[in-house]
């Protein structure tokens, strides 16, 4: 009886898109593994098959379970992250895996779901008002706890994902200036790297003066404008200082190449250049499945993980890329649509978190592969090779699908 109601109420659209993405991902991993003579595609197939019992467990657990135990799940997740400092295995300079036999597990992939649950749980309390400063601090603390544990591993890619929670908080009432501050910070950062800091400060001054005199007389506040100008100048100068003096050379290189200030096709720019070549060589319809010369030649590094989209671009062309991007966009918008119709605040916030996390991964990954974002290790959800990633995203998504199915039940 119960099972049947689940199958009736479950959102099949999301599941079908999910399944399509996983299958397409596996086909591309299969193609890219032809060059390396590795058994990555076999392993990934096992991971995919194992998601089926995982999904069944998630769906059959009582709907109230996640809300009830959110804090405990979050706590356990934080412990697994902290444990890495003692028991973690270092791969390619990053200490973010637990080794169990020949398999490795990356706890940060599961921490995103746990953090989402914790944040949803915290915000679901009707007493919480994000206009209050101490509430804001508490909410941000939930986000920053895992970030503080992930950053030193070092895994800046995973840490970057957590910035999207700001948008979730904004949806739930966080003042707009947080978002504006974030946005202006990014713009100033990029401008400072592109231009001389003096010019950026001049631009900032011009904007402030225009805004100051355009606003109504009553709203004009010379002190606020001056403080704003001081902040901008300070930020720009410190970015310049940090970039030149505190950043490591390879970080600087990544930004410089991205911004077109330096060209280095054999060294640090190799990854991006090769992935652009692979995608660019696809044309309208691509070279066909298993026909990608770049893929076969193994020119793109990490092609089965972070650079899996290059295989799509090369072998399936613009059309294939369009299909994959469209599938992601549909899934994301569908999740937001479902989140907005949730009856409880808990499941709505959680749904938003899911959409936000998937969106950040999707955008940062493809943008990086296409050469419009700095090289940073972020997998493409459901596509990239790796058991932890696949299961992490599956858990993240299916907890929400379960909540959504439950909601109709309750009603």
């Amino acid at each position: 009886m119960k099972n049947q109601s689940i199958t009736n109420n479950i959102d099949w659209i999301s599941i079908i898109i999910y399944a399509l993405l996983v299958i397409l991902g596996w086909l591309n991993i299969y193609s890219s593994s032809m060059s390396s003579m590795q058994d990555t595609y076999e392993k990934q197939l096992i991971f995919i098959i194992l998601t089926i019992p995982l999904i069944l467990i998630i769906v059959s657990v009582d709907g109230k379970f996640y809300e009830k135990y959110a804090s405990i799940i979050f706590g356990v997740s934080l412990l697994t992250l902290a444990g890495l400092f003692l028991f973690g295995k270092t791969i390619a300079g990053q200490r973010c895996w637990y080794a169990i036999g020949s398999f490795t597990i990356q706890p940060s992939e599961f921490a995103k779901a746990a953090t989402s649950l914790a944040l949803a749980k915290y915000l679901s309390d009707p007493q919480i008002n994000l206009k209050e400063v101490n509430r804001q601090v508490q909410a941000l603390a939930i986000i920053f706890l895992p970030v503080l544990l992930i950053l030193p591993q070092p895994d800046p890619g995973s840490a970057l994902i957590y910035s999207i929670f700001i948008i979730v908080l904004y949806r739930e009432g966080l003042p707009a200036w947080y978002v504006w501050t974030g946005f202006i910070t990014i713009v100033l950062f990029v401008l400072t790297l592109l231009l001389e800091p003096e010019y950026v400060i001049l631009i900032g001054l011009a904007v402030i003066i225009i805004v100051h005199f355009k606003s109504r007389l009553a709203d004009r506040n010379i002190i606020l404008s001056s403080i704003l100008f001081a902040l901008i100048s300070g930020f720009v100068l410190s970015v310049d200082y940090v970039f030149d003096n505190l950043f490591k050379q390879h970080h600087r290189d990544r930004f410089n190449i991205l911004l077109g200030k330096a060209v280095d096709l054999k060294g640090i720019g190799y990854n991006t250049n090769q992935s652009e070549i692979a995608i660019g060589s696809g044309g309208w319809f691509g070279k066909g499945f298993l026909e990608g010369t770049q893929t076969k030649g193994g020119f793109v590094p990490e092609q089965h993980t972070d650079y899996i989209f290059t295989t799509v671009g090369e072998e399936w062309g613009f059309l294939g890329s369009l299909v994959v991007i469209a599938l992601f966009a549909c899934l994301l918008l569908r999740i937001i649509y479902l989140a907005e119709r949730q009856k409880t605040k808990f499941s709505r916030v959680y749904g938003y978190c899911v959409a936000g996390i998937l969106f950040t991964h999707f955008f940062v990954n493809i943008a990086m592969v296409a050469g419009i974002f700095p090289t940073i290790g972020v997998p493409l959800p459901f596509f990239s090779y790796g058991g932890s990633g696949l299961w992490g995203f599956t858990i993240l998504l299916f907890i929400f699908i379960k909540m959504d199915a439950n909601k109709v039940n309750e009603w």
Partner: protein, 649 residues
């Protein structure tokens, strides 16, 4: 508003990504090309170059195999260095140096260890090659010259330059391409089409098999053989006669425009530019800026033609009705054409008509004829343009459109020329009178002179000179079989030809008569100057001669120019009559004349132009080698069966 932020971000981001991917995949096509270089290696199969034959089917240029010994340093295993060096005649130090160089290039990839070994050098090594792991042999095809002459006609083969590689997608860096001569102008036909094998590479540049099972691979197409219009015997004879002289000879068959001989001197044995010595020899030839052995004087040297130009002056005056056969002009060893202006003349003087004016080459007569032509119209500008158009209808003052890669326009002045020289006007027929006798602004190349004679022989028409006779059973370009008719009526050529005929009977070439062959000809001399040590000094005149024969039904028209050879009748004239006899009778009867010309050396005169440097010495050495080769038959007998088979075709 708050609800809309994340969906808007998603939509904007999706749009941004699609735009970027669209740019990479559709708009920016440089990436596509890069990917081909990256992952697919093209291996080329080079076809054998087509052979070159002369007009009678005599093989001139064939191919020879040459062997490059290649090495892959990583695969070297227990080489018996001593034996290896002995086989290839190398020192141990040289061996070590070359291996080191290959290693620096790449330990994994093949590089050339020893290049361009010939068959005998390679034979000993061949039996043992299996013993030497890491070495293998790459066969290349190089030119094998069957004759020691014709270097300027054939041109040569060289590595393609980077500029062309960028421009022409057929060529890749390191490919060979025809340079100069017919190797260049018939490159597309001679080279064939190379075959391509596509091979999939991995990121270490290792080959991992055929790309798409060889679906796109193509087979090499053999180069086609060509027959030149050159008569090998005549060409060889011409080059021999020009030894120790500088200048050019061009012989044309009037009825077809076929180039029978194209001689430039000094020249060199084309064989010295093949094989291991090529680059050393080429550098020496290239840097000889005084004798310029790489400069084809037959095609490129522009000179004031001198007296032979009087033929055209006369023809134009006849056509314009300003003279006829009976017009009498009196010559008093010169012609006073304006107050205080006097043009000297070497003819025997007295009153003369067109006929004697030609065979005695009277300056006064043709200056008068030219003045009449220009003064026919009230405006000299109009008159000069009419005159100029007549002359240009002989193919002069412009590129002739022949099938050799180099050429010069020459110069036939018109009103624009004089507007440039005299911007304020005031020029008249007397100002430009030097044109009448082939001086002044008139410039012609030897091939233009030869074509002029061919046109006169044909009584008013010519075919564009060309050097291609046959391309393996294909028709030659239509433009070489199209008749060009001059603006001079046919009837005016008759008196001109009879005058030219008497040049041999009564005129300047009396001594050069060949018994039994009616030759029509004209001598010429051209003054020339050189700057030596900052001073302009007059050198010995260039010796010029133009002729065609036989008078009725002409078979050969010829122009000869010998730099600093003196009077036309001293060197150029004898060469012309020897060449004509050789061509029409296949043998020369006047051996004393032949010996005198062969022994004539103008090197002393040329030494004035520049110190007798290493360059000149080299040129003398080359000339000597040509003289020595005279004893050797032009076609060496080859036992190579593949060549015999080809010759049968």
């Amino acid at each position: 508003m708050r609800k809309a932020l994340l969906p808007s971000l998603i939509i904007i981001a999706t749009f941004l990504l699609i735009m970027r991917i669209f740019y990479l995949q559709i708009v920016d096509d440089t990436l596509k090309l890069q990917s081909e270089n990256n992952a697919i290696k093209k291996k080329f199969e080079y076809p054998e170059r087509g052979y070159i034959y002369d007009r009678k089917g005599k093989l001139l240029v064939a191919n020879q195999a040459s062997y490059d010994i290649m090495v892959i340093p990583r695969e070297l295993k227990n080489t018996d260095t001593l034996e290896f060096c002995q086989l290839l005649d190398l020192s141990k130090e040289e061996f070590i140096k070359r291996i080191k160089k290959a290693k620096i290039y790449s330990p994994r990839l093949p590089s050339v260890f020893l290049s361009q070994l010939n068959k005998s050098e390679f034979a000993a090594f061949q039996e043992k090659i299996r013993k030497y792991e890491g070495f293998y042999v790459q066969k290349r095809s190089l030119r094998d010259y069957e004759v020691a002459f014709g270097a300027n006609v054939f041109g040569g083969i060289t590595q393609v330059n980077e500029k062309l590689v960028q421009k022409n997608p057929y060529y890749n860096s390191g490919d060979l391409i025809g340079r100069q001569g017919v190797e260049e102008s018939y490159e597309d036909i001679l080279r064939g089409v190379k075959g391509v094998k596509y091979i999939q590479k991995d990121k270490y540049n290792r080959e991992i098999g055929a790309y798409k099972e060889g679906k796109y691979d193509t087979i090499a197409v053999q180069g086609e053989d060509i027959n030149l219009t050159i008569d090998a015997e005549l060409q060889k004879y011409g080059e021999e006669l020009m030894i120790n002289k500088r200048g050019g000879i061009v012989a044309i068959e009037p009825a077809t425009g076929e180039i029978l001989a194209l001689v430039t001197a000094p020249s060199y044995d084309p064989g010295i530019l093949v094989g291991r010595q090529r680059s050393k020899n080429y550098t020496q030839l290239y840097h000889d800026s005084i004798a310029k052995p790489l400069y084809d004087r037959g095609l490129l040297a522009e000179y004031p033609p001198g007296s032979p130009f009087k033929i055209l002056t006369g023809l134009v005056a006849l056509q314009e009705g300003m003279i006829d056969e009976n017009l009498t002009v009196s010559c008093n060893h010169g012609f006073s054409y304006a107050r205080g202006r006097f043009m000297r003349c070497h003819c025997s003087g007295g009153s003369l008509q067109l006929h004697r004016a030609i065979y005695e080459s009277c300056n006064s007569y043709f200056a008068t004829a030219y003045m009449k032509t220009i003064n026919k119209y009230t405006k000299p500008a109009q008159a000069v343009d009419i005159w100029s158009n007549h002359i240009k209808s002989f193919g002069l003052g412009q590129y002739m459109g022949y099938d050799l890669p180099t050429g010069k326009r020459g110069n036939i002045p018109d009103s624009k020329t004089y507007k440039r020289i005299y911007p304020n006007g005031g020029w008249r027929s007397t100002t430009i009178i030097s044109n009448s006798i082939g001086q002044g602004e008139v410039l012609m190349t030897p091939i233009q002179l030869a074509n002029m004679m061919a046109t006169v022989a044909n009584e008013g028409h010519y075919y564009t000179p060309h050097i291609i006779k046959k391309i393996q059973g294909r028709e030659i370009d239509e433009k070489f079989t199209t008749k060009h008719v001059t603006t001079i009526d046919k009837k005016h050529f008759k008196p001109m030809i009879s005058g030219l005929f008497d040049v041999y009977n009564l005129g300047t070439a009396r001594a050069l008569k060949v018994e039994g062959i009616d030759i029509c000809g004209k001598t010429g001399t051209a003054e020339n100057f050189a700057k030596i040590g900052g001073k302009r000094i007059q050198l010995k005149d260039h010796s010029i001669f133009v002729a065609f024969a036989p008078k009725d039904n002409p078979k050969i028209a010829i122009a000869i120019m010998v730099e600093n050879g003196g009077f036309g009748s001293t060197i150029a004239g004898p060469i012309a009559s020897l060449m004509i006899e050789k061509y029409l009778r296949q043998k020369v009867t006047r051996l004393d004349l032949e010996t005198r010309i062969l022994a004539t050396s103008l090197q002393g005169e040329y030494a004035k132009l520049g110190g007798l440097s290493e360059k000149i010495k080299l040129q003398l050495k080359i000339a000597d080698s040509l003289l020595n080769k005279r004893a050797i038959p032009a076609v060496r007998i080859k036992t190579d069966t593949s060549k015999v088979k080809k010759q049968v075709i």
